[in-house]
Symmetry: C2
Subunit: 134 residues, 2 copies
């Protein structure tokens, strides 16, 4: 995936849109709803007290992030949840699993992450491991 320094790789751009899309509770609720089944705009609108255009805007954000695709059924434009962007976001977070799981030591994580995906953000000139004590 190659994140870190060069900020404009296509994959990185995707992650921008994906995380941004997930940063809104209405959109997360829409994603949650679509796990169950495809749904029309009207159906997605139902649980919320916001206008239909607002929902359409949210759907466009989800579409741009690749999280939702649209079909066509007469006037309706049924929404379908796409898996891949969720997998991408998960993959990014997965690299830091060791941070929140106590099984690994910091050093283990470093080696682990270098093996799977060279982070190369470092350039740690001084490499002070304990810059302070918090």
């Amino acid at each position: 995936m190659n994140d870190a320094i060069q900020l404009r790789s296509p994959a990185s751009t995707d992650l921008n849109a994906i995380f941004a899309a997930l940063a809104d509770p209405t959109r997360r609720a829409i994603v949650a709803r679509l796990v169950d089944s495809d749904a029309t705009v009207a159906e997605l609108m139902q649980p919320f007290s916001i206008s239909q255009p607002a929902i359409s805007k949210h759907l466009k954000v989800l579409e741009r992030a690749g999280l939702v695709s649209r079909g066509r059924d007469a006037q309706r434009r049924p929404c379908h949840l796409e898996a891949q962007p969720l997998a991408e976001a998960n993959a990014w977070l997965e690299r830091y699993r060791a941070v929140w799981e106590e099984n690994f030591s910091r050093l283990d994580l470093l080696l682990e992450s270098m093996k799977s995906e060279p982070l190369k953000a470092g350039r740690k000139t001084g490499k002070r491991r304990k810059t302070s004590q918090r």
Copy 2:
């Protein structure tokens, strides 16, 4: 975690800030850098061609999301990566693992997610699985 319908639960608010913080490539790179070790603002600034105040702003966003905590070492304010928000974001995505892993069927996922965390976004009045024809 209780997401979906009521949009302003504290946990939901956290996810907003967490995902929003991760939606920027500079901030994701900072997170990646901090996995290795704590770092000062100057150290974090180094790989980027943006100003120091810009970095300070990014750090404030990460702090608000709980992803980074700050220490004190003379003039320096070393940054430390906090695990919990990453775990929270991961936990949210984890609920949809079955969506991108073909092992589960859709129905399996539904049961799975209901067991672990009642989604209750549905209110599926008609429970039409295929919105396409009606």
